[in-house]
């Protein structure tokens, strides 16, 4: 008991998985706390699903170990793991009713019939599907199927719930609603969720912490804010949100800030200091469009670059500008359309000369 | 403890071994082993004992005599040739009749399609033997069908060529006709399956680009249905080449097909080595088109 409470709830230790010569997962180490919603985020083929399948027990790691609540899961078959999965296709049993689907896992528990019926009723109530208990999966809608899959996976009270692209099969409107529902169900049941997704917005809204994966490796682990505001690599910066990046060189440190020479800007800018970079090192300077200000006059502060509006796209609440710099480089910048009107709404127009400004804190310096 | 170890073994491996093992062993014993017996028989020597074979006593234990006769005796080679020709002609005729029918099935109104498809499948479920038999009734000298054809013939040709009835039974023509009749559904169904998948907008696109319907068929429809043509062709050719029932009932006994030769060597001449050798050669002959077929199929799947 004490041993399990001392360590992290889920510990993945140097796990790798190869299929023949293909390395799907490379040396992944992660810890997940009890009650957390943890997201594995990455493009297709990044190894996130393989990692999930190793947690469920469908695949055995080629090397490395997985501990759940202090117990080594090596050699434990899927049917003996206190881990349940919500499949991307939902994988509902087509020949069973909604209630039978939810009850399926419970037949392996030592429970009386009454207890089992009570649990099924409780689960159906949790996902608001009580009126549909007697229907077959093909007689309900996609969103309802998703909730059946959730209720079925939660019915046995797993220690860990794995959700494989839980929202991918839903249409956009339903997806937002379901996101919040998933979060509230997680909060009520207290079960630890691991969500696999390729959708960064989904990961950002759902998860307490995110692991960004690429080519079988975990690139960064952190809260949504950390991942967004302080990406540690060009891959993570580019994968989450949009970004414009430039080659740069560190010239020195001043007032706790990093001075960076950016050839594309033709000038030196100040950026938030990053540990581990040294003077003269080649780095990447990355800027998010919404952190840039656009003005007709030179802005105050250390960072200002002059350019010309090359393109602008009006989205209603905001506009996206593409500013071309004298060096020929292009920068993307967002501006909120605070004022109302046809022309007045825009800060600047095509071919206008404008100044771009940004706070040193908003400039991301990436060594990798 | 032993029990739980057993159940763990069963969960991990035992159950899958059982699922693979049972049909595997069955086929090894009741399919492969009998075939190996045939191969062994083909190099045995005919005797007058029962069973009428022996494997030597003298060195070498095997005798290639049966194979020498298969390739040396014109009777066997002619039988092979007759089989291949009959099967090939039947296959081509099935294609010529079956292709427009399959295309017609795809193009008719959907309400009709299911009924017509059922009408294609229905003969497939009725007894093969009876379908052959039905033609025996039509082809006989005194039948209304033969009479009708005879009348038509007599009207069309000079008086000198007039006949009392057309000799249809016990000819290669009858064999091919009945083969076409019995195997036509095997041609239509794969053709229909491959034509049904085609995107009708492709036709429209081709017509939109200025092609006449006949040209569209040649440029768009036909090339895309080649997998169906090959599948249907194989499904007709392979069983037709080894056919026994049709040549026995309506065929010409003086130019037998190979299936009948095997059966006669075995049952009438009691020459087991000879029957076995012919069987082995026939099977090798079947393997070549089958491998071509799976090669084409693998390529078709690879290109998807």
């Amino acid at each position: 008991m004490s041993a399990s409470e001392a360590g992290p709830f889920l510990k993945i230790e140097g796990v790798s998985k190869s299929f023949g010569s293909f390395q799907a997962v490379r040396d992944v180490s992660l810890t997940v706390e009890k009650g957390e919603i943890f997201a594995l985020l990455g493009g297709s083929g990044c190894g996130k699903t393989t990692l999930l399948r190793m947690l469920a027990g469908f695949e055995e790691p080629t090397s490395g170990r997985i501990f759940l609540d202090g117990r080594d899961m090596a050699g434990v078959p899927p049917w003996n793991r206190p881990v349940h999965m919500m499949f991307q296709s939902y994988a509902l049993f087509p020949h069973m009713t909604v209630a039978k689907n939810v009850a399926y896992g419970l037949k392996h528990e030592k429970m009386t019939r009454a207890e089992r019926d009570a649990r099924v009723a409780e689960m159906l109530d949790l996902v608001q599907l009580t009126p549909f208990a007697g229907r077959k999966p093909h007689q309900i809608s996609g969103g309802q199927r998703q909730r059946v899959a959730l209720a079925r996976a939660l019915a046995r009270q797993p220690k860990l719930l794995l959700l494989d692209e839980p929202l991918a099969a839903l249409d956009k409107k339903l997806r937002e609603h379901t996101q919040f529902e998933l979060m509230s169900i997680q909060a009520r049941t207290g079960v630890t969720f691991i969500v696999v997704t390729h959708d960064q917005e989904e990961a950002m809204t759902l998860a307490d912490r995110i692991a960004v994966m690429d080519k079988g490796q975990v690139k960064q682990v952190g809260s949504p804010t950390e991942i967004y505001e302080f990406p540690n690599s060009r891959f993570v910066a580019g994968f989450i949100g949009s970004i414009t990046s430039f080659e740069a060189r560190v010239t020195g440190r001043e007032d706790g800030l990093l001075a960076v020479e950016v050839p594309a800007f033709g000038t030196r800018v100040m950026a938030r200091d990053v540990a581990g970079v040294t003077e003269g090192q080649a780095v990447t300077l990355a800027l998010r469009p919404e952190k840039l200000t656009i003005s007709k006059d030179r802005p105050e502060g250390p960072n200002a670059v002059e350019g010309m509006v090359k393109d602008l796209a009006y989205f209603g609440k905001d506009s996206l500008y593409r500013i071309s710099l004298p060096s020929g480089a292009l920068v993307q910048a967002h501006a909120v359309n605070a004022r109302r009107g046809t022309e007045a709404a825009r800060v600047a127009d095509w071919d206008d000369r404008v100044w771009l400004g940004f706070d040193p804190g908003a400039a991301i310096v990436l060594a990798e | 403890m032993a029990g739980s170890r057993l159940s763990r073994w069963f969960d991990r491996k035992g159950w899958s071994d059982l699922i693979v093992g049972a049909p595997y062993i069955w086929l090894l014993v009741f399919f492969l082993l009998p075939f190996l017996v045939v191969v062994a028989m083909s190099v045995a020597t005919k005797t007058s004992t029962a069973p009428p074979i022996s494997w030597g006593g003298e060195v070498p234990l095997v005798s290639w005599e049966a194979y020498a006769r298969v390739f040396g005796d014109g009777l066997y080679l002619r039988a092979f040739l007759t089989s291949v020709l009959n099967a090939a002609v039947a296959m081509v005729l099935c294609l010529l009749i079956g292709y427009p029918m399959a295309l017609g099935l795809v193009r008719v109104a959907p309400a009709w399609r299911n009924i017509l498809l059922m009408l294609v499948i229905l003969p497939f479920w009725t007894s093969f033997l009876l379908r052959v038999y039905a033609w025996m009734g039509l082809m006989g000298r005194n039948s209304w069908f033969n009479g009708m054809l005879t009348d038509a013939w007599n009207v069309l040709v000079p008086v000198d060529w007039a006949v009392r009835s057309i000799p249809m039974m016990n000819t290669n023509f009858a064999v091919v006709l009945v083969m076409v009749y019995t195997y036509l559904p095997f041609m239509i169904l794969p053709l229909y399956a491959s034509l049904e998948r085609l995107d009708p907008t492709l036709d429209e696109a081709a017509m939109d680009l200025g092609s006449k319907p006949a040209r569209v068929f040649w440029d768009v429809t036909l090339p895309q249905s080649i997998p169906g043509i090959i599948a249907g062709g194989m499904l007709v050719f392979i069983p037709a080449a080894g056919e026994l029932v049709i040549p026995t009932l309506v065929g010409n006994a003086s130019s037998p097909m190979i299936g009948r030769v095997i059966s006669d060597e075995f049952a009438q001449a009691r020459d087991w080595p000879m029957a076995s050798a012919v069987a082995v050669v026939l099977l090798l002959m079947m393997v070549v088109p089958t491998m071509l077929y799976s090669h084409f199929q693998a390529r078709a799947e690879g290109s998807k």
Binding site: - | I19, P23, M118, V120, S127, G137
Partner: protein
Amino acid sequence: MKRRPVFLITMLAFGFAFFYIPILSMIVYSFNESRLATVWGGFSTKWYVSLFSNRQVLAALVLSLKIAFISASIATILGTMAGIALARFRAFRGRVMFSGLVTAPLIMPEVITGISSLMFFIMLAEWIGWPAQRGFTTVTLAHITFSMVFVTTVVQARMIQADRAIEEAAMDLGSRPWQVLFDVTLPVIFPAILSGWLLAFTISLDDVVITSFTTGPGSTTLPLLIWSKVKLGVTPDINALATLMVLVVGAGVLIAGIVMNRAAARASADARLAYRANE
């Protein structure tokens, strides 16, 4: 604007005439008074009466049904196992050989299957004294062997289509592999198993060649009985028997078609229900 495909419709009409005229002719002549089967001599049902009083025909029918039922049932079990194995177990020792063994009976000419089974049974009797006599058992064994691969083909195709995740889901929810098989896999592929059984049953019931090689004295199936009579020529009582068989099968296929249409209608009703549930 759409052109009527006149040529195709003509070919369809011609094709269906080709399919059905011989059968219709046979049906008509089964009511022929004359003993000469191909010359019309007036309407009569006497061949049906003589058919029903023919104990030989009835005995052969019963034997055929018995063999078909037993062989189709065992073939379905073995064929389903093989289909599941080929669709689900990606790599096992001897897989190439196994898939070869499952395909070979499909292309093997029946004559060869027939004589190889017969030689095998004869040699087996020489070596181990079993089977002492050929008949019911040997025919059934041979029928199981060549019809199981048809079941395998049907089941394998269905298994490849089926969502593998539902089997994993059952396993994930605590079921051992064999429980998954009975709880999920078999119920889901049941329609394929059923059509596999029907196929095996029909193939067995229809077989002449393999049966004629593997049977022995006293075990005459219906196709063998017909075969021995038909070899001698066309007779009106065979016309009557053929008519009955065609009508029974026709009715069966028709009923199956109607049931399938109903199922399709139910599926679309379910789809509407699901759509309404969405709102």
